[in-house]
């Protein structure tokens, strides 16, 4: 069964994707999205696509979750305006 690692990678990515889609809380979802990015990067490496794995690693694990977290922080700040800017996110 030569394809076994690929199949395991597929199942991992599918499980992570399902978890990311079904997690309702955006902060939680951002963390699961970065796990999905990691699982996809692993799967792409196993599928012999190192070029795609590299860009997925940078985009999926860092860029997208970070932007989601920063958006959540901006949107959450709405109700309590007087909270001082502390210069560093809890996610930072």
């Amino acid at each position: 069964m030569a394809e076994l690692p690929v199949l395991i990678g597929l199942l991992l990515a599918t499980a992570a994707g399902t978890a990311a889609a079904l997690s309702r809380e955006p902060v939680h979802q951002a963390l699961v999205l970065s796990v999905l990015g990691l699982a996809l990067a692993l799967l792409f490496t196993l599928l012999q696509a190192p070029d795609v794995a590299l860009s997925q690693l940078a985009v999926g694990t860092v860029l997208t979750p970070l932007m989601v977290l920063l958006s959540v922080r901006k949107v959450r700040r709405r109700p309590r305006e007087e909270s001082p800017a502390d210069g560093r996110g809890e996610e930072g």
């Binding site: 795609v52 989601v68 901006k74």
Partner: protein, 149 residues
């Protein structure tokens, strides 16, 4: 249609004499087939579960995340189409050309640009969500619909 099918069948048979052409094979017939269908099934599942989350989302930021899951299904599908058993990466800096079979580089190139461009489109969507939150004070699509009246 019928003629094309026999045409395809002839080509397939010449390559792999043991197997019948795809067009005449039933879905989910043998165990080996199910394993070979798994990548396409996973891609379809990721797309559908992303769509479900997108449609039932109560938060626009969450909806953008669900869209990212939908995007990832296209990457899985494209790379699964291009995969080749026993193939290596289509890079010839270490492997002399022709020494080993390589996987399909065309789908990899498509996926690669898609990953990066998809991230910037996600950024644009998140920017719009931030702007909606500023102007309307909510990111719940149902509340936004009520605001519109």
């Amino acid at each position: 249609m019928n003629g094309r099918r026999t045409e395809r069948g002839r080509i397939r048979r010449r390559e792999r004499p043991a197997q019948p052409p795809y067009a005449q094979r039933p879905l989910f017939h043998r165990e080996t087939r199910t394993v070979n269908l798994l990548p396409f099934f996973c891609a379809g599942w990721l797309f559908l579960v992303g769509c479900y989350a997108l449609a039932t989302s109560r938060n626009l930021i969450h909806a953008v995340g669900a869209l990212a899951v939908c995007q990832s299904s296209t990457y899985v599908l494209l790379l699964a189409v291009g995969y080749r058993s026993g193939g290596t990466a289509p890079v010839f800096s270490d492997v002399p050309p022709g020494a080993r079979p390589v996987v399909d580089p065309v789908v990899q190139a498509l996926t690669l640009t898609d990953v990066v461009v998809g991230a910037t489109v996600t950024a644009l969507l998140l920017a719009l969500v931030v702007q909606i939150a500023k102007r309307h004070g909510t990111v719940d699509p149902d509340e936004l619909r009520e605001l519109r009246g």
